[in-house]
Symmetry: C2
């Protein structure tokens, strides 16, 4: 189509597989300055303000001049400078920041997807950054984004304390935390129904006669996991098991594998007849370990996964995208009218029975 291009598709035939394939064509760029409103105005023979009107869309411009302006703009490759516009309009951007934890965690990305969906739907774009799950980097990352005058901050808190955001909150920036509540900061929050979801799973096991139920988790000192642990204990207490500590394997060290936790449980004096896991990683480990063993152990995992259906693994399922969507909607609502009480939204979970969690307890039932 355009004359100056060509050769791109042909040049792309891979010639090597070691990672780098050399030059294709020369990127000659003349570095023209970017056209401004004034440039367009001059070329169209009108004032800058008239051009501005065309792009603001609000006030009216005669069809002919509008036409001339758009023509001139196209010729100059004009694109309005959002920086300048936002600055003039009192620092109101159309971006929302999302600060997530470890960027490689697919769960967070599902959440990001949900947020992005809602933002885009409302004309906002997402500024994304990650703390790498390092508590000390959270304020730094957040600060960098706030300097960009984002209209709202969606945050997966990792620092021990979010009180450093009090000032920003008073400036009117809505702050929404996702997956975990903030500490020492009033903020809207969206979390999963961690506790009740886990309790439901454990209840389904006690209903089948299980009493010796293992719980494995690593890490275990995060909000979500302490909630799940609480749900587990609560359901066991309801079934008459007051002390579950000997069935709990709680790690806080990445070096401890979920496999070893399961092993420790099953090799103990009084092994469990069922296991529930704190998260996806624990489920994967449990699957690997159980596969290598003869025991028939009931298993319910927290977090759904792609092959769970095929493998017949029962899970406490939830929708991370919905978690993000809820956060995104909250951000939009707060941007549109700041007032109102802080809200806590809990995204429901769903116990999906696929077989692994429906193995009854062995031996005499306690009926």
């Amino acid at each position: 189509m355009t004359a100056s291009v060509g050769g791109c598709r042909r040049a792309l035939e891979p010639t090597s597989a070691v990672g780098f394939v050399g030059p294709i064509a020369d990127t000659e760029i003349s570095m023209q300055p970017r056209a401004t409103l004034h440039d367009v105005a001059r070329l169209a023979g009108v004032s800058a303000k008239t051009v501005s009107r065309v792009y603001s869309g609000s006030s009216s411009v005669s069809p002919e001049t509008r036409e001339r302006i758009l023509e001139a703009a196209k010729r100059l490759h004009f694109r309005p400078n959002t920086l300048a516009r936002n600055l003039r309009q009192g620092g109101k951007t159309a971006t929302v920041a999302f600060v997530m934890g470890d960027i490689r965690n697919p769960f967070y990305f599902q959440v990001a997807a949900g947020i992005e969906q809602e933002l885009t739907k409302n004309g906002f774009t997402m500024l994304l950054a990650s703390t790498g799950d390092a508590p000390e980097s959270e304020p730094v990352v957040v600060d960098a984004l706030l300097r960009q005058l984002v209209r709202a901050l969606v945050l997966i808190p990792i620092a021990g304390d979010q009180s450093y955001l009090e000032g920003e909150r008073h400036l009117g920036t809505p702050i929404i935390t996702v997956d975990r509540p903030a500490n020492d900061l009033v903020a809207d929050t969206v979390v999963l129904a961690n506790r009740s979801g886990m309790a439901e799973a454990v209840r389904s096991l006690t209903a089948l006669g299980h009493r010796r139920i293992g719980f494995i988790s690593n890490p275990s000192e995060m909000y979500t996991l302490t909630e799940r642990l609480a749900g587990y204990r609560q359901a066991l207490a309801e079934a008459g098991v007051a002390d579950s500590s000997s069935w709990e394997r709680l790690g806080n060290d990445r070096a401890i594998s979920p496999e070893s936790q399961v092993r420790s449980l099953l090799d103990s004096d009084d092994p469990p007849t069922a296991i529930v896991t704190g998260n996806n990683r624990a489920t994967m480990g449990a699957l690997r370990e159980l596969k290598a063993r003869p025991e028939e152990i009931a298993l319910i995992g927290f977090d759904d996964f792609e092959l769970a259906e095929m493998l017949g693994i029962s899970v406490v399922a939830h929708d991370p995208i919905e978690l993000g969507r809820a956060a995104g909607r909250l951000a939009i609502e707060r941007i549109e009218h700041h007032a109102g009480p802080t809200r806590l939204i809990e995204i429901p979970t769903r116990l999906v029975k696929r077989g692994s969690g429906e193995i009854p307890a062995p031996g005499p039932r306690a009926d």
Copy 2:
């Protein structure tokens, strides 16, 4: 800690599981105006420029005044306005845009993770948007980001033609496409070694005596998949199979399930002894379908997945994060020195043998 907060942690005990949990505390915000350089300067008894110097870091300020300024800034919750700064500095922001396809596709997010890692390492932040894999939305989304004066554009192209970016390229904005090359646009590109990766997989099957090898893919008209198909055909041709069309099941309709494609292959007059898949989705479908059947079919999937090891599934593995990192590095390099020839980077794949791909062909070997 802070007096005005409190109650947050306690208030978070879930009271319902239906998705919404009511108000917690009142978000009283007084909506103070944001402090500026001048406000800080006034409070510190210096000129605005001196405050500016403190935040620019370049020129020197006496320790005492610096101290006074930082003190004043803290009291006013001052944060430099990046909009204004960037505007003044000629529209140089520290953001890079990444436009991806369907935001729910975990592959893209892995890529995003890689990009983000490299950007953050170099002080840039990522503006994220998605086209939803809708060709017509690509120019719109891209335009919105370019208005924000991003320093580079990383794009997973979906529109049929990227020539609309020629103008921006001449303005000096580096453009990098990922996963697929651009059409009608000179741009740096990072892709997987789709063709050679698939060829390697098929060769490993022909080496085991397989000749009737199925290939399933849906969609199949995307760049990545036509490349993989080409690799498949090439390897088969090397093994003396000139026409593989009866083993190919190429869909371009989301309604066609990979299961049905596998079924169609295995129920044909001359069923294959091995199957290779075009992508992760096809692998999942093939697994589900093969599980329900008695046939022993060799299988190699394209794209690795979490449980592949446990299930013993051989795959053509690759590193999506590395794909992103390469793109991110390219963006940084281009930002730092624009010149130089266009580059094509190919990220290698790796055939991971886990058993499913090592099933020899049945019947007499062709030795």
